[in-house]
Amino acid sequence: MATRMVKVFNGFERFWHWTQVILVFLLVFSGFGIHGYHQLASFDQMVFIHVIAAIGLMVLWVFAIFWHLTTGSWRHYVPTTNGLFKVIRYYAFDIFKGKDHPYRKHYWRKHNPLQALTYLGVKLFLFPAIWFSGLVYLFYGLWSQGPATSQALEVVALIHVAAAFGIVVFIIAHLYLLTTGHSLVDHVKPMITGFDEVELSEAEEAYLKENEPGKIKD
């Protein structure tokens, strides 16, 4: 086992992540505005921003889903209890004692077990809940029967708002976790350069050097 600087986030992943950051920010801002939490823009402007950003994010996710499936990257998100308890104990106790994070990245496991489980939950439940309710909401004109479907619209809106609160909770925790570990830069840099420290077995290192030049930074 040797620790090497390995490209863990390719160009598409980084583009996906940062575009998603911008779009989710616009969606949270305009969405809570539409819902009546602020009047920093007019209602029609916020609806416009919300719809455009939502369509952009869904197009991005069509590519992301395709990428997950075709490259096998979905494997990073398969739930595992292997090391999960250590990570939970780290954030609950050991972090206060100044201990090191127990998880080391592996080539086919670039997220720690708790992180992978959280992202899986976001990808399987939270995001689909907000897209599905959002699409049904957006196309209300297609299925509306006037007052007869008002109750249904209300249910759709409630699911949409509930998922939105869940996403805000995720963002707060996601941003806070950037401050853990050695430095903020350590967490953000891999998502900019693509490279992070990964523990490679000799076979993995030999394979990458032989077949995927540029994956390991010397």
Partner: protein
């Protein structure tokens, strides 16, 4: 008859609490309507998360300062 343009409405005249449609029941109007318990639980969850991470961060700072002594 078509109203003159100075009488045209903006979206938020209806899409707000206490707007022109405030007494109209039986329709869900975005911006006017919400479920009071969903809002309470949502705001509570967001504030609890904020306080949780601030508390967690504070303990980290205090414990780290103590270790240096």
């Amino acid at each position: 008859m078509v109203s003159p343009k100075e009488d045209a409405l903006t979206c938020q005249q209806c899409h707000m609490k206490e707007g022109r449609m405030k007494d109209v029941d039986g329709v869900y109007i975005p911006g006017r309507d919400s479920n009071v318990w969903l809002e309470r639980i949502g705001i509570f969850a967001v504030l609890a998360t904020l306080l949780g991470v601030l508390g967690h961060g504070l303990i980290r700072v205090v414990m780290s300062a103590r270790r240096k002594h």
